[in-house]
Symmetry: D2
Subunit: 496 residues, 4 copies
């Protein structure tokens, strides 16, 4: 018979420090590919490592600023990393956002641990609801899982987005039934799932994955209505890490051209090939009617998590201000005005996320959920403003952002001195420092971390149209029309 | 000797209902002008009355929904109208905003009572600070004033904006020293002030005015650093009510052409000609160093008060949706998309205001003040989004908004039937109801209440550039640059 | 038998000067209503007169600057007013735009004569095409009509927009068949038409009307596929002039409050009650297949005619610059920057219109038609940029735009001096001049001419969505996809 | 004595075909560096080659579509490549733009030959003016140079942007006098210049360079007021090619990951170390008063040249449409609407450029120059709209743009089949084709050609603020204010 304990054996000693975390990733037998090659030890891979460093900061922050990144959990019965906490009051969600912005500032990239956090939040209440209505015991299992995770302080990846194939068809009508993750077999010990999850943030840097359905389902899709948790090295799992803009600058030599040599994001395709999940780690199996709630609660949490981008915005605003100083134009009114505009847009995003957190409400399970309308509004602004902030940063920085010689040129005996001579800015600024700041701006606007700052701001937690659909659902037009009719002097509703 | 009691004799019986309020305005001997004529009884003036109706809703709401619009005050020692409350916790400021949005929805216009509320908030803490540092007793006087006001439930107008004359010069260098309000004389009983205040919201509909300096001052401007309270019918006060777009539609006959016949805003020029203020009602006299704080705190409160515009936005979104229905195009995807965009922009404003309230902090006096950065960001969005919401509303409504025949045409025997025939929309909709909704859209986008929804959204509580200056002050560039340098690998600050 | 000559008897002497034009309007027996009353002599009506003045400028310009506003016509065989000219080369369309921008600058409003001009252009080629394919003689009739019109130098109104009723149904399925203009009877002399046209620009200020179908039709709608010309005082025609924002300021006394006392636009509802049209003036009767071409060509001409709004933009930019000067802030960098932005947007519109004219192509009749894509793009920008220009103008002008006392207040002995004292701007500027400029800004942004500058910029010549549909039709996606595939290395089309 | 003929010996046989051009680049002894290494044969360097391919298309187009890309020149006395033509009528400038858009469509990148073309245009008229006023013979020399260039059909690079150092100081006050290119020595045969030029488009792919001053100069800067031409392999020249986003994907294996494997842009730093220029190739030497004209004319030409970006826009719109098809969502209304918006923005840019060309005016030399205001307006839109087009393209394409596995993953036996299985789109689309289109979108929005499509659209031919300064200069505020005063009824100018 299957023993859950053994699955957790690796985490007998809790992960505490950033170093503990790095060590926890070593020596695992995961099936990871990058650029056509199997990566045996991702933690030592120079292109992957910056994404691991970013995740490690979630541990470092908790040790350096425990008031910000840790919290006492009733579930775990101890002080835990905030990335594993189920919110039980509005301030929990506010504090989460403060932590996310700070990590954005520290890393200038996606630190990847939010998806799992938001998955925990969503599963907490949905399993509770299923149990309440169906007499199942998913919630108890889930609480047990979360308790172990909290005590061990592991990274949980949240796996939601299915490949979807032909988007006009539901799961059971796809030519290939695996295009949505599904249960292919059940036995006494557990279930077996096949399929894939796309764009999986920090997948390879996680310890466990929670997989969830990606959309509303109907009864015929019940085999696709499945939620469970698996360790990342479970048999049958394969990971293909996606290419990012400028990813190979990490191996071009030196640390200048990368712009932000220490930190980057990570997204992977995860393939599930008959992956076994013991029942203790199954949190939904066939309760198709709850798939929609799960998705909506997850996205309502996760869309507010994009507050992290305001941390990246802080870095980019700072970089633009530094570049202006290097050029000696920091006092020009149009420069100052652009910095104000960037700040205004950045703080608008922050405000929307904050408001969604402050306005959170409890669900039946006791977990608090962000305000749905405001969370969608927040994310929708995230799909717009970082693009304008990036444009303004490039405007301030100048064309050198994309025409600058490489670090190796700077080191070359023939041309290095020429570069130092001709790329000097205002007196007192080292040319290499000027170049570093410009490379950071490149990194965030058209380089590796533009992946996270721009494109993922568009699509992460749902593309713009997904937010518009949610906003449409919540906009209460009937009430608004009644107000208008009342003021216009239209006494009766004009339509039934 | 001067007796303050007599000044308050009129308010021996508290104002409770909307009707009480209307009655309280009757029979006063104010010196009010509109369109070149003295208005003896403003409450009966058809053009002015809608602005009084809007103010009256602040009373009606408190009786209909006391949980929203009233609150227990420690100062007054009783349940009071929320428009007279000094915030002593973040939720007070949040509740204030909910009340403001609801009143925006109910009236579709500026209900005018916020300026006084925000003046109370600002004076509470500034008088406290002056007393603490200068040994004065302004705060005690102020508390006594507020207590009387709360118990009597009066409307207080906040008077800040001076004419300013040549904006490149401080008060004492103006060709005409009255271009900023100032103390021209002092005696044993009180002070005498001369000058004027511009754009005074709801001035004629108030009971008392608090006047305050409009900007940072220096020692030579000490006679201009004055704060005090006067009843609106104090000798020496003259009011000139400004013209508004379409104001005279109120007297064109019927109630259709006005668009919103019941409610409108009001702004007046107030001239002070040696107006006497007894010392009990003087809250600053010469403490120039505190003028800047007073202005900043007032604007920080008041910029968040523009949350009311989201209530107007609700009405306009509702009207646009109704107009689309009347045209039978409510299901068109571009129509739905525009309603979503309007809602998104409206809720973005709401979020920013909410965040500024939730993030409020206590000052030394115990009063809570909105977050300054977020309040400025909120107002800055108010200077933009209502214009786009209005454009989209007109887009949905169609050109008839500006080409429609008048109500009198509709009543004419010859052409009334033609209008009913040719302006009919989809089956089941009365032509007159269609016309009413279109007039309401006109009212809010290019009519009388566009004054409040658009132009005052630009300039009220400070024009856009004022917010940009405040955002610039709060954007903490040094911290942001340090973050950028750290990630770029620049070890030391690049500038001293 | 019917004699066409008599219809033209009134125009035996050509209209030359602006005064001639005013005289030509007097003494007509039109059935005109405004605000519920029959208007016997519109030219003497104070609210209507400014719209007549604006039209008169099209005559004045031709006498003052004949090189700009007149042209030799092959049809008329003489020098004619450019508003009656059929373009036979690209420069004709460019010159038309220069004339339109100049008239926009001179009047600050809609001068109303473009619709007829664009109707002439569209009918010229469509009648030619019908004749060529159907053997009719519409084109000959039409040329004869245009020749008379050119020689007499009359104003032709173009009447296109039907009431439409339920927009989901074609003409023949409407509950009321008159909701689209149609032929109800034919006899030996001509046809009889019933229906109405909405939003008719300058209708009452015209001499003749050309009516045209408003959309694509099918065979069952053949009675609605009708084009013809009628004198404005033909029996059976009724006009209801629409209300405009602040229209009655024209009768409030003085000329200040109007903002632009001399000039305004005009739109009317025209009702056709069995109006007789002799065959000489029928240019389409049942050729439903050509309705779409007629509409598309008309809108392609007319969307470019919105270049006139750049003339209004010039006025508004100038007014904002003057207001900034009056406030003494013209050198502030944010003020200059806003004026640059306004200019940039204004010239972008101008560029698009110009490009559409330069890129015009000949049709079979020899008439030149603007480039359809570029004309739609031009108009689409007109639906956006004037709103932002108006917002920026209000930003520069300040809140006084909507809170300023009336001219009557200025004339009042008590308060006039107070207003002069407190509304003074920088030294050397008369308060009344400052007020005049602010009223002009009100006029263009939230007053009577905002009707034309804003709302009609949205809906005139087709609402935004109409342009998007045309842009979609012309965007040649297949070619663009082929280019993308070629560069991406996709060898074959991915879809059949 | 120096013999100019020998300098031209290499070009005795004209370059005709694209292959000729490639051959012409081989075997040169240029001093080129890239990523720290000397590049002996750039044409064979895999990262540089795509930029050469793009330039080669300017030859291919002239052979494939001579009516578009060639023209008869009076100077050369023969049919020449349009990239070497001095415009002598508006249609020359229009035709130039058609050619540029087509090359943008063909290459999806910067084809680099416009700078030289615009330099020729600017020098033509400025040398003429200098000669006319100073009795020099620069124009004769210049014509001789251009004749040779036209006959030989060479690529001319235009070198303008100096490093500038401390931007608050003029050339002669810089700490290092070389921070602006200058004459350091003169002898009987010619001059010797030192300095550098930044961001030099296609420098290494050129045959000759024309160097020009970068800004307005005064008398003390006369040694910096120098214009001349040198072959790219002249002694003393060193080139450092800048890094571009994803440049090394060209050597990552395969052609998929590059997105656009064939074409890319190029920008280099050129260092001049006492480079000799014989007097025959000196076109200005000390006539500092003409530096401003030269810069303004060059930028007026060059800002319109950014019409090429509409060609890239065409490709990106096509790619987005193809991606939507692959996802099976091409009929969704929000997708169609986004494609329309992209087209609208793209054609707005096109219109502005076209208008600037049609509105060109002759200068004294007979050369035609684009309209300065409209050219600045055009470029200013280029600094905005491509960013929004790119955002919309990413919106349509989905997150896979930045998370997609590499081509090597696709080729891997283990995971290749998994990728093909899970990345399949709608039926009938090859997964690899879907990936190719997504990589092209990456290439243009966050990859190698985003350098040209986005960042260079901001800064090429002058950063946004440079256009705003020019727009401010040309906006004729006095005329606009006079119009406003006239309509407002202000009789006299309000300021002297």
């Amino acid at each position: 018979m299957f023993d859950v304990q053994t699955l957790w054996a690796d985490f007998a000693r809790p992960i505490v420090s950033a170093d503990d975390y790095l060590n926890s990733l070593r020596g695992r037998q995961m099936n990871v590919y990058f650029r056509g090659e199997r990566v045996l030890e991702p933690v030592e891979h120079p292109v992957i490592r910056p994404s691991i460093n970013a995740m490690a900061e979630t541990y470092r922050l908790a040790t350096e600023r425990p008031e910000l990144a840790s919290v006492r959990s009733e579930i775990g019965g101890c002080q835990i990393n905030r990335f594993l906490h189920v919110a039980t009051k509005p301030n929990d969600l506010v504090a989460k956002q403060e932590m996310q912005r700070e990590l954005g500032r520290r890393t200038g990239t996606c630190f990847q641990r939010c998806v799992g956090l938001d998955a925990i939040g969503a599963c907490h209440s949905v399993t509770f609801d299923i149990d309440a209505e169906r007499g199942t015991d998913y919630h108890k299992r889930f609480i047990a899982f979360v308790r172990r995770a909290q005590v061990a302080n592991i990274v949980i990846g949240g796996a939601m987005t299915d490949p979807k194939g032909d988007r006009s068809k539901p799961p059971h009508q796809q030519a290939d039934l695996d295009l949505f993750l599904r249960v292919v077999r059940r036995d006494d010990n557990g279930i077996y799932v096949c399929g894939a999850k796309m764009h999986q943030t920090g997948a390879v840097n996680s310890h466990w994955l929670i997989f969830m359905p990606t959309m509303r389902m109907t009864e015929v899709d019940r085999d696709w209505a499945v939620v469970g948790a698996v360790p990342v090295d479970a048999p049958g799992l394969t990971y293909v890490i996606g290419r990012q803009t400028n990813d190979t600058r990490a191996v071009d030599g030196g640390d200048l051209d990368a712009g932000n040599a220490r930190f980057a994001g990570q997204e992977a395709l995860i393939v599930f090939d008959e992956v076994f999940v013991p029942y203790d780690h199954v949190f939904m199996d066939g309760e198709w009617a709850y798939a929609a709630s799960l998705v909506e609660r997850f996205t309502t949490y996760h869309r507010s998590s994009y507050v992290c981008k305001t941390g990246l915005g802080d870095v980019l605003i700072g970089a633009a201000a530094a570049a202006a100083e290097h050029n000696g134009v920091e006092a020009a009114s149009h420069i100052k005005d652009k910095l104000v505009e960037m700040t205004h847009l950045n703080e608008t995003i922050y405000s929307c996320c904050l408001a969604a957190a402050f306005r959170s409400k409890p669900m039946a399970s006791g977990a608090y959920l962000n305000d749905e309308m405001l969370s969608n509004v927040a994310k929708h602004n995230v799909t717009r403003f970082p693009f304008e902030i990036a444009r303004l940063a490039q405007d301030i920085a100048g064309g050198l952002v994309v025409t600058m010689p490489s670090e190796k040129d700077l080191q070359n005996n023939e041309i290095g001195p020429l570069i130092r001579k001709f790329l000097q800015g205002k007196s007192g600024v080292e040319t290499i420092d000027r170049m570093r700041i410009l490379r950071l701006i490149e990194n965030l606007t058209i380089g590796r971390n533009a992946v996270g700052y721009l494109t993922e701001s568009l699509h992460g937690a749902g593309s713009p149209q997904a937010q518009r659909i949610q906003i449409a659902r919540g906009m209460r037009l009937e009430d608004k029309k009644a107000r208008a009719r009342s003021l216009a002097g239209v006494s009766e509703p004009t339509s039934p």
